[in-house]
Assembly symmetry: C2
Homo-oligomer: 632 residues x 2
């Protein structure tokens, strides 16, 4: 039996000083509890999502310095941890000093593993280049190293040999993606096994939460352990890291898979803790009892990810109080409930900002919500200010200095709609938040963000979009979950959930007349998801093909029969499709460029995970042909 | 002699339909003029900076379809062009269909080069993973292909053989970065030569403008051609492409280097045109007359890049008219002059928005500038609205619903400063621009953007930051250039250039009393540049070390003696350094996340070229030690 401590720590990005502090404490604890080994996550010392901070040599030196302190602390307990490794004598392909995403194995103050590798550490073999990952931008890969030293990659994938209490232990060192090799030509686990024997695989990760991801990971890693007949220990970090536009939560959920593929240990999600386990390295045939593993596809996971992420983002930005504009609609209500849970009602100021278009219904509902939450509350009408702005723009003459002519610019009702939205956010919310000593929230959801249904510097503004990665139907589901599971009563009034969604910016959007948003969420949520979340993104060509073949609802996942209920024929269908595609690839992009950071819960979120250019809308030749055929 | 047409075309990103139209026209022209070969840039069909559009299979099929039309048009003239190549039977490491950044050589309706390569096209060998480049995210590299087919990279780097008028011509096909191999372990030019003989190297590129880049390229490519004794034809695209946050101009400047390294042809910058040349493939010893090459480090280049980029960005977003808030300060004046040149004075509406803090001086200067530019002009004071906002926030009671207590939130002078800035941008400029049927500009410069000296939804707002990649001292130089070279008279009044820079948001910033910004541009411009532009970014540890060693001014490039003039001692120096470092890595990031796109002219611009995370400020252990030593 091997006594192993799993160091599922909260990693603070860019703070080797703080992370090293956490690690030294955990190492001391492990030693006290007679652990023979402690394992920390990938990039435990520096953090992982740091943008181009890797280009600061001072930061690299600092990570090395703190790394040395960890190595020095390995007396009597073997310490496995992730850090950046620097080869100051070599360069990367950007001409800067060479960096590796490295796996260190320290014992009694020394690094192990130099006997069969060019360095006394292991480096990441598979560097992901999709979604938010930018490993190739910063780190020199094993592939390139192999070419340089004139060896094959497989040759370099050697286990690290440790001597623990007189016994030699052969460890297969994996860094995160190395365990996810299905789409790669190189299979690190198999290669290391061929250079084995291996007693234990250790996968250190910095793997963000996404709905359903742990279920998949358990499937992949169980299979891996079972196929190898060797246990796999997976240690993931917790905490919150971001890439500017996109904020990720790391859920931990570290686990141990035994040699038969059973999950024999499973750490709680979102918890920074050390757990000591007894690992059986011999009994490959003995079936270990498997532990129950939580399902991460349910709303409970989403709710916890949102709270953990918002809390962490607030903490790292130093924001302790928030102002939330509540309209009586669903998004702001859900946002208000979340922040009240996180910060306490005394740190949440809710404000209703009615114009003449806001119905008595929604004004009443907003107040009811605030009373239910027992928060701070105020009502600041915007009509006077909006009237002043419209009047100022319309009545102030513009002079054509070329000829002295004067002209007046009329304010249309569409222009006035956006003036209202900006008056609320940029005038009241921003001012009020500053006076309150906090920040104001952005309550936009993913459906709105997809097509830019919202006003720049208006409802798209705010310090953070906590619901920005949830489709409208998920926001509704979350509202129900909050009432049922979190608060245990109808804190969000049923009427808010049942109300037609509306921006209430003109008489065309009067909720009491059942009028609302132009987005038909039960269909468009799924259409938009096909545009942006599908691994192979659907473009109008695909959508129209599916429509023509009668399989659209099945393909995008919306309710059967819905499409023909909504559209009277192909022409209407096509007009709708093109309208939203143009917005998604056009004005939507322009607005996202200036939108707040989004908290990620899906497998594809806006921002750094969904890179995009502001280009003109394109329709493929095949689409145009198809349109001509069926649009007749 | 080989008759070669250089197809220096304007590439429209994401529009294979339009690009193919341009190419077919140029091919027809080349055929008429009896060219034997025409060469188009890298990714001429799809465009290059497309974000994750590469994940749409419909788009890939469309690029293939348009590519086929180009290939079909190659009867009688050999067509070399860049396009995405798709292997529908293989996957990339992201599990999606495999894509290559490819170099196609078509002749008489067929593709050449399948005789010595796995595909009938060549693929990019060196995929840049720095600055704005994301090649590894989308394209399968030669390195990976070599591993897959079990050959060495060098073996795969074969020239393409063409038969032109009965003679065999051996072409070394290079894609952009392939010609910039200094920092790579693989040297494509040398490898292809070893598999030669080679008659001609062709480098097709999509290489953005940056100050001084062409000078460097001429140096590198001249050396390359000279060393090989083989001519190099370089064809670069023109046009404007973006990565959302960051807008690049492509300057063309295609060139021919003869076998002795002389530049014998040079196409104009920013011009979409085909040029027919006679290329001497034999006379390696005969010295060709070299042509004059423009220097791209001067202000003329910068000015032209700014105009070309803004014009292209306006065209692609469909914006034909702009509103510019002019304060009487330098940034908005330069912005107004640029847009007036681009759009004509009838499409530029200048607006001065004074509060009680704006001096008569700057109000007079703003009007003078507008008169000089003969634009549309108006004055819209903000004091009434700002007073209303302050009053509304201060006087509307906030109710603590827990206990019914009422409280009032005071508006401090700092809070009021930002209320003014937002009132100008989010209330007036945004509303006015909508009424005018256009957009409003962001006039922020790089110095302000670095430290977030500006207000979110205030002066940081706007559709585009045309000066966002120029340090304050470059804005001044550009002002002088506009007066001297572009307008030929003092269109920007001298007083504006001589005035102390100030936001005029409080009595602490009264220009007539010589008070202004907290940024001391002659020093901080260079400090900030060291933080963000240095290839190895300077962190406080480096700055303090240089300060201690007395070499700071030399290292960062500011005026000698300046530092001791500004700071009375190490303590003041350190306080200043930490203040700006915290802003650069903290609030500055938060503001940049929501800032407008920036037009790039430097070798490091904000946005996608300068990836960053919103983390807490970090000071290295060595910095803290040094600070303790010298801060005593």
């Amino acid at each position: 039996m091997l006594r192993v401590a799993l160091g599922q720590m909260r990693v603070i990005p860019g703070r080797p000083d703080l992370n090293t502090g956490t690690m030294l404490k955990m190492i001391a604890g492990a030693r006290r509890r007679k652990a023979q080994m402690i394992i920390f996550p990938e990039m435990a010392v520096p953090g992982y999502l740091l943008g181009d901070t890797w280009e600061q040599q001072a930061f690299l030196r600092d990570c090395e310095e703190y790394g040395r302190r960890i190595i020095e602390a390995s007396a009597g307990v073997c310490v496995l941890f992730g850090n950046v490794a620097v080869d100051w004598n070599k360069i990367g392909e950007d001409g800067r000093v060479r960096k590796y995403n490295a796996f260190f194995t320290a014992q009694d103050g020394r690094l192990c593993g130099a006997d069969n590798f060019p360095y006394p550490f292991r480096i990441k073999t598979l560097q992901p280049s999709y979604r938010e990952f930018d490993d190739s931008r910063y780190f020199f890969s094993l592939r390139k190293l192999a070419a340089e030293v004139g060896k094959s990659i497989a040759e370099l994938l050697q286990p690290v040999k440790l001597n623990i209490d007189g016994k030699t232990l052969s460890i297969g060192c994996l860094l995160c993606e190395d365990g996810w090799s299905d789409d790669y030509g190189i299979k690190p686990v198999a290669a290391i096994r061929r250079n084995g024997p291996v007693d234990l695989f250790v996968n250190i990760s910095t793997s963000p939460f996404a709905i359903g991801k742990n279920n998949e990971r358990n499937r992949v890693f169980s299979r891996q352990a079972g196929a190898a007949g060797v246990p796999v220990v997976y240690v993931n970090s917790t905490g919150v890291q971001n890439n500017g536009k996109t904020v990720y939560v790391f859920d931990g959920c570290s686990a141990v898979y035994d040699g038969s593929g059973e999950i024999v240990e499973c750490l709680p999600s979102f918890s920074s803790e050390m757990k000591l386990i007894e690992l059986d390295l011999t009994g490959k045939t003995k079936k270990s009892p498997s532990v129950p593993v939580p399902d991460d596809r349910d709303l409970d996971s989403v709710y916890r990810a949102l709270c953990y992420g918002a809390e962490g983002f607030l903490a790292s930005t130093g924001i302790e109080r928030v102002v939330i504009g509540i309209s009586g609609g669903i998004d702001s209500s859900v946002s208000a409930c979340l922040y009240t849970k996180i910060l306490g009602s005394e740190n949440v100021l809710l404000v209703n900002m009615p114009s003449k278009y806001n119905s008595p219904t929604t004004r009443r509902l907003a107040e009811k919500l605030a009373r239910n939450l027992q928060s701070l509350y105020t009502v600041m009408p915007i009509q006077e200010s909006v009237d002043h702005t419209v009047k100022q723009i319309e009545q102030t003459p513009v002079v054509k200095l070329k000829n002295g002519n004067r002209l007046h610019l009329p304010v249309t009702s569409f222009v006035a709609e956006n003036i209202q939205a900006r008056d609320r956010s940029a005038r009241i919310l921003a001012g009020l938040a500053a006076a309150f000593g906090g920040a104001f929230t952005c309550n936009a959801n993913k459906s709105e963000i997809t097509v830019g249904y919202g006003t720049l510097y208006g409802d798209i503004a705010g310090f953070f979009a906590v619901l920005g990665d949830l489709w409208k139907h998920q926001v509704y589901a979350l509202a129900e979950y909050l009432n049922r599971q979190v608060y245990g009563w109808e804190v969000i009034p049923r009427e808010i959930i049942d109300l037609v969604p509306s921006a209430e910016l003109s008489s065309e959007q009067a909720v009491d007349e059942g009028k609302g948003d132009p987005v038909i969420y039960p269909y468009h949520d799924y259409l938009f998801r096909a545009f942006m979340e599908f691994w192979n993104r659907a473009a109008p060509e695909d959508i129209l093909t599916w429509y023509a073949e009668g399989v659209l609802e099945e393909k995008i996942g919306c309710r059967p029969g819905l499409v023909n209920q909504i559209f009277s024929g192909p022409r209407e269908f096509i007009a709708d499709l093109e309208r939203w595609w143009k917005l998604y690839t056009g004005m939507g992009v322009a607005k996202r460029i200036q939108a707040p950071p989004v908290l990620v819960v899906s497998r594809r979120a806006y921002g750094f995970d969904h890179r995009e250019a502001q280009n003109t809308a394109h329709f493929t030749a095949k689409y145009l042909k198809l349109k001509q055929e069926i649009g007749k």
